[in-house]
């Protein structure tokens, strides 16, 4: 299991600003190791964020997203104390889901 994500969700005006920092290698599949062998691609393919069961953002990523990906987005309709859940799945089928309380 991968390391937990850092998620911060805070109300700004009428919107909720969500910032997510994920821990992932995001290996491109282009790089070679010291022995000259290609390092196989290993990256997050899908990211989904939900609030009260409703999807507020979904994304498909390629290997060109930086290592330890950062993501910021904003949605309306969230209140302090409610939860935002972020889930990612990588190309090896590994999965991680974390939640944050809106503050």
């Amino acid at each position: 299991m991968a390391d937990p994500m850092k998620i911060r969700a805070s109300v700004m005006g009428d919107k909720v600003v969500v910032k997510v920092l994920m821990a992932h290698e995001m290996e491109t599949g282009q790089r070679k190791d010291s022995a000259g062998k290609t390092v196989p691609a290993w990256f997050i393919q899908n990211v989904t964020a939900t609030h009260n069961g409703k999807t507020v953002l979904s994304a498909q990523w390629g290997p060109a997203v930086s290592k330890n990906p950062f993501l910021e987005f904003r949605f309306s309709g969230g209140k302090v104390g409610e939860k935002v859940v972020v889930t990612w799945t990588d190309n090896k089928g590994d999965k991680r889901s974390d939640e944050a309380t809106i503050s």
Partner: protein, 156 residues
């Protein structure tokens, strides 16, 4: 003969498993977790090719899309990029790097209620134009910006 029968058996038992799984709702369609990944789009080389792989026809330039990023990135491995769109009914935002081995970096679906804005960090192999591709009202629009990548920490 034996070989083909074995293959057939294998195939049919596999199909049964899928049928059962569908019936019990494991692969329920419309499930939030029924994830898909558009491999064709992530294999493309250029902007218009990506638009076609996403199911569109052609993308036109728009002034209503803005890209926020540094003009010069010292480290191509971590280039912060923000995209926001003022187009009505923005459905998706994608970030493309023209000179990367595959252009498409990330594609975001924007449901209603979510601001047409995303911010993330991408890798760039070299100085290149980046594109923000926005799907709004079923049509594709783009904006572009050049980011210079200086390698070796010379600071350009």
């Amino acid at each position: 003969m034996k070989q083909s029968r074995r293959t057939l058996l294998k195939a049919s038992s596999g199909a049964t498993v899928i049928a059962l799984a569908t019936a019990t709702g494991v692969f329920k369609s419309g499930n939030v977790y029924a994830l898909e990944w558009n491999k064709a789009a992530f294999d493309t080389k250029g902007l218009q090719e990506t638009v076609k792989a996403m199911g569109g026809t052609v993308a036109t330039e728009s002034k209503d899309i803005s890209i926020t990023s540094p003009d010069i990135a010292e480290n191509g491995a971590v280039v912060p990029v923000s995209v926001s769109s003022k187009l009505g009914n923005t459905e998706s935002i994608s970030i493309l790097v023209e000179k990367n081995p595959n252009a498409l970096s990330a594609a975001f679906e924007i449901p209603s209620g979510t601001e047409p804005f995303v911010s993330t960090r991408v890798k760039m192999g070299q100085t290149s134009n980046i594109y923000a591709l926005v799907k709004a009202d079923g049509k594709y629009f783009f904006a572009t910006k050049e980011i210079k990548v200086t390698l070796g920490g010379c600071g350009g």
